[in-house]
Every structure is written in C-alpha cells, then in structure tokens.
Symmetry: D2
Subunit: 128 residues, 4 copies
C-alpha cells in the first residue's frame, strides 16, 4: 500500500494543478485545492475538468488505501454550483468493496461556506 500511495503522491498532473491530500483512512480520503486563476474557464468559474481531477484523484487515494491495487474504470460528476474563488474540500468514501470491483463517491464543498459544488462517483478494478 505504501508504494501505491507513494506513486499517487507523485502524480504530476494533480500536483501541477495544486491538489493536496489532507487525510487517508481505510477506504476514505480527504483533499483540497485552493482556487486560482489557472483553474478558471472562459466565464470565470472553476472548470469542470479541475473539479473532476480533484474528486477523481482523492477517490483514487481512497481506493488505494486498501490491500489491493485499484485502477479507475470510470468517473461521473454532477456539477451543482459554479464557484470562482475560495478553497475546495473533497471527501471521498467507499460505497462498496467487492473482490474485483469497488466504488467510491465524493463530495466537493467550498470550505468558506460549505456550499455543495459537485458530487462524484467512480468504480475501480482491484488487481490481485
């Protein structure tokens, strides 16, 4: 597990957009991203891809907190509230854990006012 979390911590893309891991537990994780001008789309709100990356990455951390290596099969995001500034906090938790498949869900909220920005679901393939 250490090696896999170490690999995740070297994720160049997640690092380049400023995501940091706050907590890792058994099947759960928490992360954050402070909104900066490079996260914004053409109308000045956080781009959907930046939100997806935040949720997807922290779910991958949660999925790889288990004894097996987990590779993402898919990701689904619902965009709820467009935001332009502040600190985004994502919390990921396990929905189910089967032998070869596991699922995680995550919520992205703004720290300052707790507004729900996006919800996310993802399934992972678990390797032996």
């Amino acid at each position: 597990m250490e090696n896999r979390l170490d690999a995740l911590k070297k994720d160049a893309f997640a690092l380049s957009i400023g995501i940091s891991i706050l907590e890792v537990g058994e099947g759960c994780a928490k992360g954050k991203m402070v909104i900066s001008p490079t996260h914004l789309n053409g109308v000045g709100t956080v781009q959907g891809g930046a939100l997806f990356t935040l949720a997807d990455y922290i779910c991958a951390v949660a999925a790889n907190s288990r004894e097996k290596s987990a590779v993402s099969l898919d990701g689904h995001i619902d965009f709820i509230k467009a935001v332009s500034s502040g600190t985004l906090i994502v919390t990921a938790k396990e929905v189910f854990l089967r032998r070869t498949i596991a699922a995680y869900m995550a919520e992205i909220r703004r720290e300052e006012d707790n507004v729900l920005v996006a919800t996310f679901q993802s399934k992972f393939y678990r390797k032996d």
Copy 2:
C-alpha cells in the same frame, strides 16, 4: 454564438494543459492534446482528469455551436486504454437536442495508432 465560443477559447484551464480546438461544426467539434510529462499520473500514464478535461471541453465547444448558450450538467468518462505518449484526438457529437436539455458524446483516440483511450458522455442545460 461567436461570443460564447470566444469565451470558451479563453478557458485558462484548458489552455494551461495544452488543449486546442481543431474544428467546430453544428453540434460537433474536434480537439487535440499532445501528451506531455505534466499530464501523467504517478504510474506514468495520462491522468484521468486530463482525459476528462479534454473531452468535457470539446463537448462544451460542440454544445455552444448551437443558437443557445449551454451549461454542462454532468460528465461521465469510461477509461479504456492507459497511454503514456502521443497525440490525443477527441471528437464530440450531439446525441440529442431538446429545448432545454442536450447531450453529447465523445471519443478520445490516439492519433498515431487510432487506439480508443476513453469514451465520454455529457448533458447540458440550454439557456434562453
């Protein structure tokens, strides 16, 4: 429409990760992203968030090629083949266009060998 596509072309996040628009038609669009080291995750393949951003952004371009402004409601990506290098081409097309809701799907393929990297679906809310 011009103004909306102009706004899309100023998307700081899409620009910062190197996505470019190749074509825009009626309800369709094509884009590309040359894989670079900053797109990679901890195991050296293109990060899911980079793939999502590519597909999501080009679908937004396709959705905003219509007479109404379109705002993304959700995005779903299936990760099919992990890749580490090459040029990714995304093609987006309309699945349906209703008065207030429209849907788009996209495929990401590698230009060099045409391998299917990911498929994507997204729904948009169309404003009057």
Copy 3:
C-alpha cells in the same frame, strides 16, 4: 403536489411488478418490493430492470414531493450484490435542488440482512 403523487400511485408498470410506497417526505421517499419469481432473470437472481424500476420509481416519488413537477432526465444504477429472495427496501434522498434541476440518490437493501444490493442516482428537470 397531491395530483402528481396521485398520478405516480397509478403507475401501471410499477404496480404490475409489485412495488409499494412506504413513506414520502420532503425530498425523500421509501419503498419496497417483495422478490417473486417474475422478478428473476435467467440465472435466478433479481433482474437489473426490476431493481432499476424500484429505485427510479421511488426517486420519482421523492422528486415530486416538492412544490414543482419533476421529470426524470436520466438514471444510473450500480449492481452490487445479486439476490434471489427476500424483501427489497429502497430509500431515496435528495442530493441537490436547484431551480430547474434536482438530483436524487437511492440505496436498495434487503430487509432481512441489510445487504446492499444496488445504488442509484437520477437527475430531474423541474417544471414551473
């Protein structure tokens, strides 16, 4: 609201497969379906379509507990545990409620052992 819930209670398809509404609250609902031989697929477990119908119908009840009429845009189900007998309980709750779009999630569990059978998400368009 009464009229809409009344219409929902006359849903011929839901009635024909034996789904009943247990509770309706503000943005939430609970229902049940006792597994019978007509719910089963060719390998003797509850068919995915029967599970989908159970979750989708009870989410529609939850969505129409609000002041506006709500029409389903989509539904997503994850199949977690195949079951062959017992009573299925579904609980639906609101994820978000915006002016024109709302989202609900539901869990289907078997009453006898609380095993998680499926999870479900659905978005609705809210009419004025």
Copy 4:
C-alpha cells in the same frame, strides 16, 4: 455461449414485460417491445424502468455473444422522448472489449417514426 444465451432467453422478467430478441451477432444484438398499457406510468407514457429493462437485457445478450460469460456492473439511461404507443426497437453494440471489462451502448427508437426515445450505456465484468 449457447448455454448463456439459453439462460438469457429464460429471463422471466424480460419475458413478462414482452421483450423479444430479434438478432444476435458478435458483440451486438437487437430486440423489440410492443408498447402495451402495462408499460405505462401514471401520466400515460412508457415507464423509465420498462425502457431500462429493454436496453439492459439486449445489452446483456450482446455481451454474452462473446466467448466469456459477462455480468452487468452498471447501467446508465438518458430519457430523451416520452412515448405512449408503438413498437420500440433497441440496438446494442460493443464500445470496447478488454480482458475483464467490456462496455456496450444501445439506442431505443420507435419503429414507426424512428424517433430516438432513450440512449443507454452499460459495463460488464467478464468471467474466465
């Protein structure tokens, strides 16, 4: 393969709602359902669960046309056009086929006017 398709043909739920298989090919299948009063919801249009069952079942037939047994992991449906009468035709095709995971997509159209009623995506786990 014969045994699996034979099992699928004995699906009590699909049979009870009147779905029939029209064609089975390599990774593809076609089916139909003639709309009857028992398929309708409380406002007189085909219930989402009936549409889901039609698409999900024919995708399962397509998935089990391959050399391995395939079990559905999830299903996602977008509801496009509400219909009340006619014959629904569903066509399912493979999106990708990996060693342990495969994906299918389907379209439901009304035979009489070719109107697009729903689109569907599903992933399957392939057993050895």
